[in-house]
Amino acid sequence: MIAQALALLLAATSASAGADEHLLAGAQRFRDGRFDEALVEFRVAQRLGAQGVDGYVASTLVKLGRYDEAVEAFGGGDGPGADPLIDYYRALACWGARLYGCADRLLAGIGDRSGPKVAEQAARLRGAIAAELRREPTPASIDWYLGRCADEQRVGRRALAAALGREAIGLAARRGDHYRRAEAERLVQALAPGRP
């Protein structure tokens, strides 16, 4: 029985070591631009119990152009996180999913927490977003976000659905008539974490 317990402990230790190897392999693939292989490595590391890998998986999805999945993988909320580099990738996920308000908030939060290269890119992207959002948004835009929000809620992608809803709220707030704003707020409240 003690032997079995020791075997279990050994297995746990070797799984942790294996997770580190997969993280390193994922880093190498990511650096080489082999993002599909990096994704597999990070996911294996995740399953072996490596901590803090969710952001790497989501960032790799960004590089693969799978923005909707990336937004879902990054999870709910669009406030700045602890790691500005992960926040930058998260902003790119929002940008790719056409969540420009989300991207802007994240890019604003990066500020001088990152290196000069990312800071410069963040400033440039924020300028482009500001230019696009200068006009008053049309009802058709808000309809699109709310329609997508409902679609994603139906298929169980709650983080993405909430992000789309928040985008609709942000756009509606910039219109004089607050087109469908109350409806968007109800949708987002229903998607809050902990709600069924």
């Binding site: 317990a5 190897e21 650096r31 693969l64 420009y100 696009e132 959002l133 058709a140």
Partner: protein, 208 residues
């Protein structure tokens, strides 16, 4: 029976108590080490900020990154020697290296704002096609290998649609994958195939 139960209880106790005792013994030592490490690393943020201020804009962007990396190694990974820490550091370095920016312009949906909107619409259509193809492939796979093998054996062209390869990776090589599938099917001379879904164009190099 009783002996077995006792053995199980002892083993469980060992598993639980071992780490707990070890934690107790290490607690004081860890506190001291943490204190020392905190003192050593407290100034990193300030040092990085000083370096960022000192480095003139346009002077190159790699210097600070290298320094930060060195400092992280000397104050983090190398101090505790953790393989996990080093692995995370390697991933961060890779993420930083590949942190490109989008080349397309932002465009709100529902507004006819030119080529960018059309590009997004095309991408959405492509993703819908991909999902349909995936559903079809899964249904085909669920039908099992046996019936497919029989159909191949008869050589009668069992109505396969050549969908699998047509989906490609969704990253711009889908068309080629579909072509490969088509030629493969023709080579085998059995499934016939109707040309698949044509693969996808993928995100088309949105990132630099």
């Amino acid at each position: 029976m009783l002996t077995n139960r006792l053995s199980i209880a002892i083993a469980a106790g060992l598993m639980l108590a071992g780490p707990a005792l070890a934690d107790d013994q290490d607690a004081t030592r860890t506190q001291d080490q943490t204190k020392a490490r905190d003192e050593a690393s407290a100034g990193i943020g300030a040092q990085v900020q000083d370096m960022a201020r000192a480095q003139a804009k346009g002077d190159g962007t790699t210097g600070i990154g290298d320094k930060v990396s060195e400092m992280a190694q000397s104050h983090g990974c190398d101090v505790n020697g953790s393989a996990e820490c080093k692995a995370h550091h390697a991933v961060h370095q890779a993420l930083a290296d590949q942190a490109g920016a989008p080349t397309d312009r932002p465009s709100l949906p529902g507004e006819a704002s030119g080529a960018a909107a059309e590009h997004h619409a095309a991408r959405t259509r492509t993703m819908d096609t991909e999902r349909a193809a995936l559903r079809h492939t899964q249904r085909m796979a669920a039908q099992g290998q046996g019936s497919e093998a029989q159909a191949m054996h008869r050589g009668a062209g069992a109505g396969g649609h050549g969908m699998g390869g047509g989906m490609g990776g969704g990253m711009g090589d889908g068309t080629q994958a579909a072509e490969t599938t088509r030629s493969g099917d023709m080579h085998h001379g059995a499934m016939g195939g109707t040309g698949g879904t044509g693969g996808t164009t993928g995100p088309g190099g949105m990132m630099k």
